[in-house]
């Protein structure tokens, strides 16, 4: 697929990274891209000490702190809630702050690590696919947020404001509970084969956030949003490949939500 030239094997000096008791050495292979000097991304490898309880984010922070300060990536909360550090880790979109090293070591983790007992562990880290790479692991999220804004992800009501709160039954609240959990990390949208090949597809995250309001009994904008998603670049582009569902760090049943929107369009029923 990608004809990226392999960096000279482990030429990076990682000896400054503190190695606590119980740490093992793992190779972190990172796709690097510096827009000031590179015309193409390339791979760099770093042999770093890692505790099984470390998150991949810790390894990246160590590399940035002790080996190469120019390594660029986003992170903020480091606790899986801000949605900043989505990246492709061992070929799957994950939040770097939610993937534990122990799940990438020999035999651990579902499809996460390709290493076997006794073999050295390599963790590959690349930017999420389908968005313009600005530097290293940092991508331009603007096209992603543009699609998010396009579905009007806010409460729309007409008529008089009620004097007290808008009442909703637990059953009605349950209807869209799953899609309220989104943290806009883009793991789903950038795992979508349709989005890779055509960046103008709204993408699963935008549909998830439209779903959150379309199926909210208090909201009156369902019609407008369904209209937007009926567009050529809307829900009908989805080929139900389930990559988005698999990638979502919040466990949202993304494809299920998309299918519900499709059926709402098809049967004119919310």
């Amino acid at each position: 697929m990608t004809a990226v030239v392999e960096g000279t094997a482990n030429a990076n000096d990682t000896s400054q990274i503190p190695a606590p008791d119980g740490s093992v050495t793992v190779t972190v292979k990172i796709q690097r891209f510096n827009p000031e000097v590179d015309s193409e991304p390339h791979w760099e490898s770093y042999d770093v000490p890692a505790l099984p309880t470390d998150r991949v984010l810790n390894l990246l922070i160590n590399i940035k702190g002790y080996v190469d300060g120019t390594l660029s990536f986003r992170r903020s909360c480091a606790h899986g809630i801000c949605g900043s550090d989505a990246m492709q880790i061992n070929g799957i979109n994950r939040l770097a702050c939610k993937v534990l090293v122990k799940d990438l070591l020999a035999g651990g983790g579902r499809r996460a690590g390709k290493t076997r007992q006794g073999k050295p562990t390599t963790i590959t880290v690349a930017p999420i696919k389908g968005l313009p790479v600005m530097k290293d692991l940092y991508v331009d999220m603007e096209p992603f947020f543009e699609a998010f804004r396009a579905v009007k992800p806010f409460l729309i009501t007409y008529g008089n404001e009620p004097t007290n709160e808008r009442i909703q039954s637990p059953a009605d609240r349950e209807r869209f509970d799953d899609t309220t959990k989104c943290i806009l990390c883009a793991c789903c949208t950038t795992s979508c084969p349709v989005f890779w090949s055509d960046g103008s597809y709204f993408g699963p995250a935008a549909i998830v956030n439209a779903h959150r309001f379309i199926f909210d009994s208090r909201d009156e904008g369902a019609e407008e949003r369904l209209d937007i998603l009926n567009d050529a670049e809307g829900v009908w582009r989805c080929r139900t490949t389930f990559n988005c569902t698999d990638a979502c760090p919040r466990g949202i049943q993304v494809t299920k939500a998309i299918q519900e929107v499709k059926r709402a369009l098809l049967f004119k029923r919310v």
Binding site: M1, E36, I92, D246, T255
Partner: protein
């Protein structure tokens, strides 16, 4: 030659990223669905052409059909049956994912199930098809 003088000129020019994406099994079933769909399309295309030939000249039609009686075509036929069978079974799975509210939840079990059915049908199916082809080709009558 790109120069290093214009700093972030290359920023955002690359969307290429990572190695092969290890998608959900659903991604690979879709890839296979498209491949088998396209293969079936090309088969039907050729099939319409050769069948249409009978209207043009029955002897030309016979001559073309005669060229199909080779071991290679016998194998291709097994491949075609396999492709159509996969496409049909997965097509049913896709429709269930589309219209059955629990479809998305059971998409993986349904995929394993259809692969199971495919193997169960294709193993004896391929055997009997090839056996028949072998008797027709080499058995003589």
């Amino acid at each position: 030659m790109p120069t290093t003088a214009s700093p972030p000129a290359m920023a955002g020019t690359s969307r290429r990223s990572g190695t092969l994406y290890i998608g959900d099994p659903g991604m690979w079933s879709w890839v296979a669905h498209r491949i088998t769909g396209v293969l079936t399309f090309f088969f039907l295309f050729v099939h319409v052409l050769d069948t249409a030939l009978v209207r043009v000249s029955p002897s030309a039609y016979n001559a073309v059909i005669e060229t199909y009686k080779t071991p290679l075509v016998a194998l291709l036929e097994v491949g075609l049956v396999g492709a159509v069978l996969y496409h049909a079974l997965n097509g049913i799975r896709v429709m269930l994912v589309d219209f059955w509210s629990k479809g998305p939840r059971y998409q993986r079990p349904m995929l394993w199930g259809l692969i199971g059915v495919w193997v169960l049908v294709m193993v004896p199916g391929a055997f009997f098809m090839l056996q028949r082809a072998a008797t027709e080709l080499f058995g003589g009558h």
